[in-house]
């Protein structure tokens, strides 16, 4: 039996590596991209050594942005498949969670249905980010090598690229807040940021189904 202050592994080393290295890429590409987006962000340009530099950094990090998840996928294909399987597993508990979530978000007391290792909101996140990343990479590659594609496809790529980084960054705001400063989230933040482990008592409360699976029913 696991004691309540004992720790269990929530995020593997590989997951933590991909998560944080990709986060760094995201922000570097966001800020260099903003310089290319509009004259509003000219004040950011000196950070990259001008708009030229922002263009260079954006393309350089694009390589890492594509390579990092591919390496993760190559090294641990099975954990990616497991992750995706879990993300796409939706039952009543997931839908009830999402319906009650707005109240929790504001700060009312709600009794959430038991959740797996990742809750319903995190499942949405787990589907959304790889999807947006894929389309960012796809549209970005078309924009980079624009001369080699039909003009209409390039024009479409601009819209896709912008929609993806806008939706993604909007989601990053929620995700970053919910994963750190939202009441009750500190534990999972330190798991992702630290050694990947959470206290069993916390897991029991927040991810009951997963706790029961790992620790066994009491």
């Amino acid at each position: 039996m696991v004691k309540s202050d004992e720790k269990i592994l929530k995020c593997s080393g590989g997951a933590r590596f991909v998560h944080w290295s990709h986060t760094i890429c995201w922000f570097v590409m966001l800020f260099s991209g903003l310089v290319l987006f509009s004259g509003w962000f000219n004040w950011l340009a000196p950070v990259f050594g001008g708009a030229d530099g922002a263009d260079f950094i954006h393309k350089l990090f694009a390589i890492f942005f594509i390579a990092i998840p591919l390496i993760g996928l190559f090294v641990k294909p099975r954990s990616f498949i497991e992750w995706m399987k879990m993300a796409f597993r939706w039952g009543k508990d997931e839908f009830v969670f999402m319906m009650k979530f707005p109240f929790d978000f504001i700060g009312f007391k709600v009794n959430m249905p038991p959740q797996e290792r990742i809750n319903a909101g995190q499942k949405i996140n787990s589907i959304l980010f790889p999807l947006l990343g894929f389309f960012l990479a796809l549209s970005g590659t078309i924009m980079w090598f624009a001369d080699n594609f039909p003009v209409w496809l390039v024009q479409l790529a601009y819209i896709v690229h912008d929609c993806c980084w806008i939706i993604g960054t909007a989601q990053v705001c929620f995700h970053a807040y919910l994963g750190s400063l939202h009441p009750g989230s500190g534990e999972s933040f330190w798991a992702m940021f630290g050694d990947g482990k959470v206290r069993a008592s916390w897991a029991k409360h927040h991810h009951t189904k997963w706790y029961e699976e790992v620790v066994g029913r009491e």
Partner: protein
């Protein structure tokens, strides 16, 4: 009134003197060409090619006919390339649409916005390139290099409205023999500083019949770019609001009471 030039296609003999003069003046390297079943040597614009002669070949009444077109930037009066450029690198100088290489970031947005698909990417310098109407020569009182090189008078440089009058007069004279003759560029794409005298419909010359900024580019510029980013402000504001309301209501905390840590 601003400057422009007139391309009278009916006077062009396809000698390509202007193409060479342009390469020369702009110090652009020659690019290898191959035989593609036509007399046209340069197939398209490139990062190093600002102008070329289209050899549009047709068989008419058992006779081979060429419809030559000197192609280059049209120098639009209301240029789409200038409007989409986030770096404000493109400006109009006395009718010429010119790019400031110092400001251009090489994002290539202008290329696909242009209704004539003129600007092309030069990988080596990471800039988009195109004809500048030789603005720096004109500023010194010289003719554009291509106009100066033209031996038949097919290219004429001057005030746009004077050229337009000349073009219309020429078209009137052509009408008897060529009923489809017309001026191109007076109102096409909102009017261009480069005007053409055509003996037939534009498509015969490889020119778009109805040059327009695509709906995708318009949607991107008018809706996605100005309104999209507000979504980020919305979720950021929502998160800040939740940070305070959860702490004010303290209910979020009570729900997690069983854990000693309220992270």
């Amino acid at each position: 009134m601003a400057k422009g030039y007139l391309v009278d296609t009916t006077k062009c003999i396809g000698c390509r003197g202007c193409v060479v003069a342009c390469k020369n003046w702009n110090q652009l390297p020659a690019e290898p060409t191959g035989f593609k079943g036509t007399y046209q040597t340069v197939a398209d614009f490139s990062g190093n090619t600002f102008t070329y002669i289209g050899f549009n070949e047709y068989e008419e009444n058992g006779q081979l006919k060429w419809y030559f077109t000197k192609r280059q930037c049209m120098h639009c009066l209301d240029p789409a390339c200038m409007k989409v450029c986030p770096q404000k690198a493109i400006s109009i100088v006395d009718g010429a649409v010119v790019r400031d290489y110092g400001k251009c970031a090489g994002c290539q947005y202008c290329a696909s916005a242009c209704p004539f698909h003129v600007p092309r990417y030069n990988t080596k310098i990471n800039k988009e390139t195109k004809c500048s109407m030789c603005a720096e020569r004109v500023a010194e009182g010289m003719l554009p290099a291509c106009v100066k090189a033209c031996v038949t008078g097919a290219l004429q440089f001057g005030e746009r409205d004077e050229l337009l009058a000349i073009a219309k007069e020429r078209v009137n004279a052509l009408k008897a023999e060529y009923p489809n003759a017309r001026v191109y560029g007076e109102n096409d794409a909102g009017g261009t500083s480069v005007l053409y005298v055509l003996a037939d419909v534009p498509s015969k010359y490889g020119l778009p019949e109805n040059p327009q900024v695509s709906a995708l580019t318009t949607a991107w510029q008018k809706y996605v770019k100005p309104y999209g980013p507000w979504l980020i402000a919305l979720t950021a504001a929502g998160s800040i609001l939740s940070f305070f309301s959860t702490r004010l209501l303290k209910v979020g905390q009570r729900a997690h009471e069983e854990e000693s840590l309220h992270g």
